[in-house]
């Protein structure tokens, strides 16, 4: 008995030692800054950046559009931007999903070296600088760019097409950057899909569409949900794509945060914006987790 106790305490010590580096890293470089952010979001912005240590809940008021002085009226501009960001992020999820889902089945059906090559190609864009890759879309989408010229030469359009600086161009850029994050979880799920289940479904009289809805989609749902979450979160907070491909016409919350910190030097407001995104994501996540644990509970009941 005493011996097992000693073993247990030794195991415990090993576990603590193993977890210590990560815990310290996250504590120092994530939790503490997060705490600072929360505190700052309730402080008054300093005149030249930084903060004044005064209780100042108006950052949140401003966020929802509350007028700060007599010259302003209620104007939920920041919420509108947030909603637009949300819309762009959701469209990005939809776009990456539409591209990745069929592709995952296609790749999963491949064999041997071909498959390895394709999976390598999926990861390949990570090797090139994101700025460069997004800048390339700028050249493709602008009125004198490749796409417009091509369409003009085929006679489909008469005037040059200006696709840049629209929600569309931002979504295109986001989908382009984030597709691998959608593809890989779905692929991992599709890869282990037991094809005999599809055959069983056909055998029991289901059409292809019925098989897709009743068997394939439910069984690959974990991959779809996982991919959607890890595409949605960076899409919502992204500021590089909207600032390059959205210009000044498309604002996302990410740009607002960037500008608050770097240009208008309003740290408290930037912190409040960042916390808004974070709170949104955390709520979303906890909903997903509770749903997941509920369905798993059903499985083992």
């Amino acid at each position: 008995m005493a011996e097992t106790g000693a073993t247990a305490s030794r195991n415990r010590r090993t576990l603590i030692l193993l977890l210590a580096p990560l815990t310290i890293l996250l504590g120092v470089f994530f939790l503490i800054p997060l705490g600072i952010m929360v505190v700052y979001s309730f402080l008054e912005p300093g005149l030249y950046g930084g903060v004044e240590w005064n209780w100042y809940p108006y950052n949140y008021g401003r966020l929802i559009g509350w007028p700060l002085n007599d010259y302003e009226v209620f104007d939920p501009i920041y919420l509108k931007i947030f909603l637009n960001s949300l819309q762009i992020a959701l469209m990005t999820v939809a776009g990456t999903l539409l591209l990745s889902y069929p592709a995952a089945f296609w790749v999963a059906s491949m064999k041997g070296p071909r498959k390895s090559l394709v999976l390598f190609l999926v990861a390949l864009p990570f090797f090139a600088n994101m700025l460069v890759r997004i800048y390339a879309w700028l050249l493709l989408l602008r009125p004198t760019g490749f796409l417009s010229t091509l369409l003009e030469s085929t006679g489909l359009i008469i005037e040059p097409l200006d696709l840049l600086f629209t929600n569309f161009s931002v979504i295109v850029g986001m989908v382009y950057v984030l597709t691998p994050f959608m593809f890989l979880p779905i692929y991992a799920n599709v890869e282990k899909l037991d094809y005999s289940l599809v055959r069983a479904s056909r055998d029991l009289g289901a059409t292809n569409v019925q098989t897709l809805w009743r068997i394939i989609l439910p069984l690959t749902a974990p991959g779809i949900i996982g991919g959607s979450v890890i595409v949605f979160i960076p899409a919502l907070g992204n500021f590089i794509v909207p600032s390059l491909l959205g210009g000044s016409k498309v604002q996302m919350t990410g740009n607002l945060i960037e500008r608050s910190f770097l240009q208008s030097r309003d740290w408290p407001f930037g912190a409040a914006l960042a916390l808004l995104i974070m709170a949104f994501v955390v709520v979303l996540f906890s909903l997903q987790f509770s749903r997941q644990s509920k369905s798993e509970g059903q499985g083992t009941r």
Binding site: S196, D203, G205
Partner: protein, 365 residues
């Protein structure tokens, strides 16, 4: 001729990765009767699973035709054929309860709810799983999953139930009880079961008829007893049960009794209606037909034991009888008797009756 399910000169080729092609099915003709349990028996790669897939509609034939009561199935896709399959790994839908699994075929056919519930209940009862409806497949044992798979197919009242090595994943005891259960289920539902297996004992014990397949061809189609007692060729004799096969030339014929002379000059008396003097022939003697003690009318072969294997109820003696192959003999031993007499090196005399031998043509004798 009962023209229930007819397979006529079915041929199916597969391309190998090297660019060649393999005949998985080579001119297979089979007539399957209604309400019978027929086994497709053969080693792996013999084409039995391919044949099953072609019947189910998962694969198309390159040549030939499959008809059900006279109607060709060629253009009917899998999901519209009145057949259902029990898969080797059961292929139960892991995200659905037992009840939803069994109801699946009725769901996709939009069967009305009341009737669906009734039929699902019936099917679960049939396989002895009433009350298991709310479980998930991963909460069931292998045997129970097997039953769910059977129920899921039977609930659709198919004309033919196809079973693709359904028992191979179960342990021996479970397998034996499922064999009996499937057989009695087939009797009670009264539909044709086509049962694919590589286990000859399983095929013999369950089937009304057995089709032995090898290299894409039907080697023999007959009742289990006939397959065992009168194998049509060397392959069947070897694959089904244990056989002692002695090759030779007929040198004398007297009534039904032939004298077979083997390559190394020994003579063997066997009984057969076929064959004449000068023909090549193979004598098949089952181990149980060779005895260590005999009566006056029995023929005797002398030999030396090379190996003796204790398997519980009996001893398997491998005896070198100087006929080119060692003969296997089954000796039922009595508790307490001295078995040393049959150890390696012991000289023994084997007795058999010429009538017990089955004579077949030899390929390239």
């Amino acid at each position: 001729m009962d023209g229930f399910l007819q397979i006529r000169s079915a041929t199916k080729m597969y391309r190998t990765p090297e660019g060649g092609s393999i005949r998985a099915l080579d001119d297979v003709t089979l007539h399957i009767r209604s309400n019978e349990l027929i086994s497709l028996l053969g080693p792996s790669g013999c084409g039995k699973t391919t044949l099953l897939k072609c019947i189910a509609g998962f694969e198309d034939l390159d040549h030939g035709d499959i008809t059900l009561t006279g109607q060709s199935l060629t253009r009917i896709p899998a999901h519209r054929r009145p057949f259902n399959t029990v898969f080797q790994n059961y292929a139960l839908f892991p995200h659905l309860t037992v009840e939803r699994n069994v109801a699946y075929g009725l769901d996709v056919a939009h069967v009305e709810r009341k009737e669906r519930t009734r039929r699902v209940g019936e099917a679960l009862e049939q396989v002895g799983l009433a009350g298991f409806g709310a479980r998930m497949p991963n909460q069931l044992s292998g045997g129970q999953q097997q039953r769910v798979a059977v129920a899921r197919s039977l609930v659709l009242k198919p004309k033919v139930l196809l079973l693709d090595e359904p028992l191979s994943a179960l342990d021996r005891k479970m397998r034996e009880s499922m064999q009996i259960e499937l057989k009695s289920l087939q009797h009670s539902v009264g539909i044709t079961f086509i049962f694919v297996t590589h286990d000859q004992e399983e095929a013999l014990s369950m089937s009304d008829r057995v089709a032995v397949l090898a290299s894409g061809k039907v080697q023999q189609l007959a009742s289990p007893k006939e397959i065992y007692d009168e194998p049509q060729n060397e392959f069947v004799a070897n694959f089904v049960g244990t056989s002692n096969i002695f090759k030779g030339k007929v040198i004398a014929k007297e009534g039904r009794t032939l004298t077979l002379k083997t390559a190394n000059g020994r003579e063997l008396a066997v009984a057969s209606d076929r064959f004449g003097v000068g023909d090549d022939a193979c004598a098949v003697l089952r181990p149980e037909h060779l005895k260590l003690s005999g009566e006056a009318r029995d023929r005797a072969i002398k030999g030396t034991v090379t190996q003796s294997v204790f398997v519980g109820s009996e001893m398997h003696l491998h005896v070198d009888v100087g006929l080119g192959r060692t003969a296997v003999v089954r000796h039922r031993h009595n508790k307490g008797s001295t078995e040393a007499a049959y150890g390696p090196g012991a000289d023994v005399t084997l007795y058999y009756t010429p009538e017990a031998a089955h004579v077949i043509e030899c390929k390239g004798a």
